[in-house]
Symmetry: C2
Subunit: 404 residues, 2 copies
Amino acid sequence: MSEFAELAARAEKLDTADELAGTRAQFVLDEVVYLDGNSLGALPANVPGRVEDVVLRQWGRMRIRSWDESGWWTAPERIGDRIAPLVGAEAGQIVVGDSTSVNVFKALVAAVRMAESTGSAGSGRDEILVDATTFPTDGYIAESAARMTGRTLRPVTPAEVPAALSGRTAAVLLNHVDYRTGRLHDLPALTAAVHAAGAIAVWDLCHSAGALPVGLDEHGVDLAVGCTYKYLNGGPGSPAYLYVRRDLQDRFDSPLPGWNSHAEPFGMRPAYEPAAGALRGRVGTPDILSMLALEAALEVWDGVSVEAVRAKSLALTDFFLECVGAYVGAGLVESLTPVAHDERGSQVALRCENAGDVMRRLIDRGVVGDFRHPDVLRFGFTPLYVGFAEVERAARVLGALLPG
Amino acid sequence: MSEFAELAARAEKLDTADELAGTRAQFVLDEVVYLDGNSLGALPANVPGRVEDVVLRQWGRMRIRSWDESGWWTAPERIGDRIAPLVGAEAGQIVVGDSTSVNVFKALVAAVRMAESTGSAGSGRDEILVDATTFPTDGYIAESAARMTGRTLRPVTPAEVPAALSGRTAAVLLNHVDYRTGRLHDLPALTAAVHAAGAIAVWDLCHSAGALPVGLDEHGVDLAVGCTYKYLNGGPGSPAYLYVRRDLQDRFDSPLPGWNSHAEPFGMRPAYEPAAGALRGRVGTPDILSMLALEAALEVWDGVSVEAVRAKSLALTDFFLECVGAYVGAGLVESLTPVAHDERGSQVALRCENAGDVMRRLIDRGVVGDFRHPDVLRFGFTPLYVGFAEVERAARVLGALLPG
């Protein structure tokens, strides 16, 4: 049996044994091998009907009454509770709304204020540490949060965090999975280190939620944010979410205290009084069409365990790396993604010459990943709808188009 | 002819002569008299089909390619340019995205920073004036902006603004139309007074855009924000917008510098460098479903002049007040909305005993307005789809259910 045939046969066996194979039917897919769900998740099949109902009936016929009668007003916390089990959180700690960038701002400013309130007066917690390898927006927003709270921003790699922590550290903003390399950082150990230094840990879950267990409650994370349009399949620009650990909620002092976070929003009172609980993370009127599309999208998780998703994710990326090793000429690509399972998210990043051009040609041949400046081919693996035969095909197509 | 018959006959004539009567067919409406378009605009008939296309084809089939090929990435500025003529702005000065609250924060912090950069060092511009009668969220957010920029927030009524302005004023946040009373404030005169004091004028257009001419460019407004789900009919929680006058754009220093406002967003650079132009007002990934629903909704404005809308709006509110005077027993309601046209927005607010209960009964009888704590019946008049016969009916139903 040729190597091609052997790997294709293995893929078939893996697909047959896949306990998540059934969830693929809940998505709108076609002959394309879609390995870009870490950028924009595929369309869940129940979303179009839900959106049609929201537009035609809830907005079109019920109009203003839907704020109460269709549950629009409470959607941010209701959908937050739906996300909660996917990131290892009990209910009542997550609200959905705004973009990830806006939520990073809320979380980081609130974190600095919490750190202030725990330390003694003039305790000198004048530094924010930020993941130097983070997706850029987190760094830009962290810079603004530092500027507006009079702190100094200090970019360090996640590996450098333990040594960089000190009595000066107010808060630390870290990514659970690196958007570029796919490296998974050690959330439990880093959170513990941040806490040992008396600082507040803020995690960005954009590239981990829905792909692997996060364990927010278990590991005592203070604050977290994440988007919903990647592994949660909420649709383009669907609203992000904010997690505030229950025992910190009374101290969550938002820099964006919009009327939706007021204790009595329809009291129309001139003085701000924050609501109890996670609602403090709300700001203005929530974006209902996108919010309720996300709610429908989250239904595909009914009966799915995040552990099963993680097991399949690792099997997919293992198999992809094996196929790339078999099909792609030596030295043509170099994986930036760690081999060790406990250091790997749900994507594979391959450094490659002319990566932008290579990705365009891959897409022309029906294999969709994305290109990250300057030289990275990025492939995301969504276990809910990606199969092993597709993985084998993607590597085969890549091997065929790179110089032999 | 009885007074009822006379007013009903007048309504019919007014409807026949209405040059905007034709736009009603572009909305999904029914037998309900919908006078709550100042809270949530009715559904434009072309929106459901557009949203279906965005979901099924752009997201479902094109997936990630739609960021370029379906124009998702440039939607915030493209749709901003579509709103521009409705508020008297040339293209290139408005971006759509985020909630009104978030945009108030961007605008007010940026305004303070602009005021700083115009004055001499230590010029003592340590105060922000805010409309004390504003929709509460503006006040809450202004308080946060003041706190985070080290300024003092001073609430004053719009009438008190001229006397309150001084060399200490950094920025002034005002509402064009009061959400509660429907009072229209004098944007040209107040903006001129703010400028005479060397301060920056920020206007909230939530209750004026789409209902009356705003003239942002003509009157030299510095910064403005507004929502799109009232008179612009964008749908529940559709994204808000931010106007930054062209000659101020280089000095617009956003407190929320997300990656979408970077000069090279896909360069993934660790250092922030703001884009040129209105794009600086962008933050994170825009909410595409709601954004493109709004884009479709704005098409109903093709060929419609804001001046015609204003003329009809005044005719509608005049006629409503006349009908209320005729049908409602003396002393049972009191209009909070100014009689003078140049002080009136596109709504009528009636103070009424048991207003919450009265509004519930009105809604049960097919007349939808809203209740504002503690004693206000609020009726909004959207000239694009409200007719005079409906106005007469609304007043008649109100008169019939109040004690005789």
